[in-house]
Each structure stands twice: as structure tokens, then as C-alpha cells.
Assembly symmetry: C3
Homo-oligomer: 247 residues x 3
């Protein structure tokens, strides 16, 4: 049984608080990110208040992972070197007990990518961010927060489900927006121990920023810089007022 | 002997029709695209109504090519892995009889790249998109549509020539605009069997979108998001009214 | 002993003159550039009036370096192939006596990257562009112009120091802006033999463009296209009027 949240408390208030912590602590998020979305993801994390890095070279990635507060692992434009770097970075995350997010981008297109994603799930990311088609390829362990994106985002962990209906259709017209969503989850996980709440708060904050951005967008092209502006300008008040959350 | 087209019929009308088909069918265009232009090309295809993918890994590219309706093969930032992936993707295109476009970007700078481009031409892309300097390095088979870009674009196939004088000088100031032009040709080829008409229609539609974009541009920086907005907003009426075509 | 410059002469006037030469001569700048910043750097160089190229493949990079008037070598997203390409390109630069700039991006995160940067410094770039944390990892030869970036940029060569206080805090919020700064130095070095003056002039021109850009920016997202517009529109008068230089 789910009921609309009192938006002055619970998730929206928590999202406001987490955003504030991101701004104050400026967590470092190391991204194993497809080459298409690297720039948008780096700019989005910077706009939010986090510190991005992007190296995917096997001989350097552990040095970067050791300085990171969270990892965002995205499987787009995967190749052997990138696969090796991901394995090494995830190893550092396990040792240092820092959270990481898996985004198995387009794993429904490519069986070897789906197998690689499944192997990573066994290494226990804090959260998996994927759409419905990608979820169909994967078996998700119970102790991983499952973020299923769509018109409404569903964030599940065991029996507890949270739904977030924020966002805008223009997001789907800009390549890399979803990848950035995964990185925002990583930044939020870096400053909050409740992985499900942090993941849901990230989707909420990101969705509200997208809604704010549409005011300055004439189409998908102008939406992208407007989204970055909105992430930089986002505050807790906007999150609480615009939240469309059910839990 | 060439005469101005009656813009209510022939190529402009056909371009309007092809654009409509792209919007309805949403063809998947897999791009072997230089790393510099990947994001712009993906965003441009999405804005137009097509569905882009960008993986260039040899062990995954065939899976993506099997789901594609057309390929855009661009030789910028070429390396051994990318060369191998291109060969594999083109093999799938031949088997599946889907069209592909070759853009031998900067092959006039690098003899090995020109040789690689020549080898690909023997495998019969539907169209070659190149500038005059690049054409000088290549011998184009008769059964490949030859798109020569410049202030005026010339689209030749055997004895039939079409010229398109749309576009704007700002296009040359934004890296990747030409690469996107090649991908737009691929999207148009995916929904029309007359390769020459489809290639010419693509250059026309893209050029009209660029002209529309200049209204919201203060320079090359703001031109880029404006171009994406214009591709998303483009309609057949604008194409027919603004077409500057000779055939 | 340093004194405020008479802004009508010396560095600002020289920067105006160098910018004019860049516009007239359109120097080719080959960039060994991290994959995140490639597009912004290419667009920034084009906006300024230079001609960028970006290939980092070992089997092609020498062909591109032989056509270049300067190199911009950036160590972000370094990998073995990119390291090899950098070595080859720097070899061509030495043979052809064209200037090159080293930006050891994030070498403070990664000891192997710092060692590689030190090895490159022994091969004598015209200029090193780095921030304070990166400088701590490196020993800079006396005959390399040392550009230390920060709120105020310091450009040192032997006993002569120049400081440039232009720029805007938004620059630090956009990934790749610093990388573009290194490439602008390369473009300026290509048309002026006084490496220290050229490097300082580049920082000045770039900083003034950034200040101009803030007028059209609502945040870091809209700042980026505005910066490109400002680089394209920049003129000597704006540089001279807004220069904040001490030498």
C-alpha cells in the first residue's frame, strides 16, 4: 500500500539535505563513462557541486579510484581496456568500502555486455540504474538498490518501493542525460548511508532540475545547457515544492 | 543542362516526405564515429527523430549493427581497434543489405587513412560524403552516390547531378557538424531506396535546419544548440519554402 | 619588482596583435587531448580562428603533426596508445622546431602520469600549463615557460614574471575550459616567437573572452556556448580595455 508523501518531510526533505551535503563536501566521483557522455556527465557533476574524474586507463584508474568518494560505472562504448579498468576500479571500491552505481547502458543490444553487467552485479554495486529493457537481461541481487528509469522512476530495495514522477520528456532527447542520472546517484550515495533513499533523492533532484530547465529550452539543444544551469541553481526549496513522490 | 527546381515538387517535396518517414519509423543508425563528434552526432540524430548508437568495440559492434537500419562510418580519430570494428560493421551491413555512408574525414592529412578509405569504397557504401580535398585522394566507384560538400553541395550518381545551396557558414565553425551531416544521410537512406535522392534530401533538410538555427545564434557556440533545436523543429513546409536546389 | 602595465602598450597590445595574426594565418594546432575535452577544445580553437585536429592514433599522428604549426599535449584520459602517440608527435615537433604546450592534467592524482609528464618536460615544451597542485609534482627546466593557472595566472620564464588576473570563476565549473586554455597558448605560440609573451597573451585573451561570456550566461551550462561565441567575437580593443596584467 503506497500513499502520497507529505512533501515537507521524508524523501523530498532528505533530498534537499543530501544536496546541501553534496555542495558542502564536494564528493569526488570517479566515472567509468562511455566516451559519448563523458563531457556532459563531468559538467553535470561539477554543476551539482561534486568533483568528477574520468580516466579509464587500466594503469591509472586505481590511483583515481583511491581518491574517489564514489564510482559511476557505465557500460556504454565498452571495450577490453575499459572492461579491465572497470574491474580494477570496482576492486578498489570494495576494499575502500565506497559506494558505486552500475549503469549497464544498452546491455539489451549486446549479449556480451549483458554477461559483463551480470558479473558486476555479483560484486554488489550499491545501486543498479537501468531501464525496463535492460532489466529484462539481468538478475538483480536482493541487496542491490534497483533503480528502474522511465516516465516514472521506481527505486526498489527488498519490499520497500519508492516512485518518483519528476523529470521531462526532453531528457530522452539528449544523449547522456541518463548516464548523468547514474552519476548523480553516485554523488548522492557518497554523502548518505541509506542507499535507497540516496538513489531516490538523486532521481528526484535530477528530475526537478530537468523541469526547471525546460523554462529556458526551445528544444533538445538548448535544454542541455539549461539543465546544467538548473543543476547549479537547484535548491532544497524547489525540490520540496515540486516533488512528485510515492513511497 | 540544369534548371531551378519547382520547389513544390521533386527533391524538396521528397525531402519533406523522407523527414516525415524518419519521424514515424525512427530508424536506428549505428555510428562508427570519431570521439570528438560522437555527442553532437548522437544528439543530432535524436533531434531529427532517429535512434543513434555509437559503440566501436570489435567484440560488440556486430550486435549493434544487426539491430541497425543504416550505418554512418566516419574515419576521424581512427585507430586499429576502430578500423577492425568498421570492417566488422560493414560486413554485417553487406549481409543484411542495409545502407551505409562513408565519411573519410581528413583523409587528405594521412595516407594510411586514405588507403583505408579506398578499401572501404570497394565494399560499396551507398554514399560517400567528403569535401573537395578528400575527393582528390580517392577513386569513387560509379555505383556509389558521391556527395561533395562545400558552399554548395553536389550530389552525383552517374550522369545525374543535384546541387544544394542551403546551409550557413557557421556550420564550418562547429566541429562535428559535417560528421552529423553524414549521419543524417544515413538516417535518410534508411527510409528511402533512391540513394541519390535520399542523400540530396538529407543535405537539403540539414542545410535548412542550419539556416533556421542562425536566428538564435550569436556565434558558433550558440549555433550548436540552436542547430539541434532546429533539427527537432524542422518540418516539410520549411524545407519546401527554403530549398535552393538545382538538378 | 613589478608594476601595473600601461595597458595601452606591452602585453595587452601584443595580445591584440597576436590574436590578429591567429585570425589571418589560421595556424593548425594538433591536439593530443583527453577524450572529455576534445570537442570543446576543437570548437574553441575554431572560434578563435585556428584549425584544430585531434587524432591520437600512433599510426597516424605523425602525419597530422607534420602539417601542424603547434601541438597541444594534454595528459587527461591517458592510456598506452595515447602515450605512444604523444611521444611520436613530440618527436615530429622537435624535428620541425614547432612549439608545443604540455598540460599534465590531474598528474597530482596519479604517480605514473606525473612521471610521464616529467619525462616530457625533459623534451622541452615551449610552455607548461598546470595548476599549483600539479606543479608540486614536477621539476620544471629553466628554459620552459611556466604557466601556473589559478585565480591569477602567473607566467614565468627565468627571472621575468607576468601575472594575468582576467577570467571568471565559471571557467572552473566547465570541464575542459583549462584544456582549451592550453590549446589557446599553442595557437598563440604558433604565430609569435617570444614564448613567454605569447603564453601570457593567450591567458589574457582567453580570460577576457571568459569575462565577455558571463554576460550571456545564466550558469555553467550557458557559459560554455557563450565562451565560444566570445572567442569568435573577441577583438584587440576588448583585450586592451579589460586587461588586468602585472609584469
Amino acid at each position: 500500500m503506497s500513499a502520497p508523501l507529505d512533501t515537507s518531510t521524508a524523501l523530498p526533505g532528505r533530498a534537499a539535505s543530501i544536496l546541501e551535503r553534496v555542495r558542502v563536501r564536494a564528493p569526488r566521483v570517479h566515472c567509468l563513462m562511455n566516451t559519448v557522455a563523458q563531457k556532459l556527465v563531468a559538467d553535470g557533476l561539477s554543476a551539482l557541486g561534486a568533483i568528477p574524474s574520468m580516466t579509464a586507463s587500466p594503469d591509472e584508474v586505481e590511483h583515481f579510484a583511491r581518491k574517489a568518494d564514489a564510482l559511476a560505472v557505465n557500460l556504454g562504448t565498452l571495450d577490453p581496456q575499459r572492461r579491465e579498468a572497470i574491474g580494477l576500479a570496482v576492486g578498489v571500491a570494495a576494499t575502500r568500502k565506497i559506494p558505486w552505481v552500475l549503469d549497464p547502458a544498452h546491455c539489451d543490444y549486446s549479449p556480451p555486455r549483458a554477461r559483463f553487467a551480470q558479473g558486476l552485479l555479483e560484486r554488489r554495486p550499491a545501486a543498479l540504474r537501468a531501464n525496463a529493457a535492460e532489466y529484462e537481461m539481468l538478475s538483480v541481487p536482493d541487496d542491490v538498490v534497483a533503480v528502474e528509469t522511465g516516465t516514472v522512476d521506481h527505486i526498489g530495495f527488498g519490499a520497500r518501493k519508492i516512485s518518483v514522477a519528476n523529470g521531462d520528456p526532453l531528457m530522452a532527447r539528449v544523449t547522456g542525460t541518463g548516464c548523468l542520472g547514474g552519476a548523480v546517484i553516485a554523488a548522492f550515495l557518497a554523502v548518505d548511508d541509506d542507499s535507497q533513499a540516496a538513489a531516490a533523492a538523486a532521481m528526484l533532484a535530477f528530475g526537478v532540475a530537468a523541469q526547471d530547465a525546460t523554462r529556458h529550452a526551445r528544444g533538445p539543444g538548448s535544454f542541455e545547457p539549461a539543465l546544467l544551469d538548473a543543476l547549479a541553481a537547484l535548491d532544497g526549496k524547489a525540490i520540496v515544492e515540486q516533488a512528485r513522490v510515492t513511497e
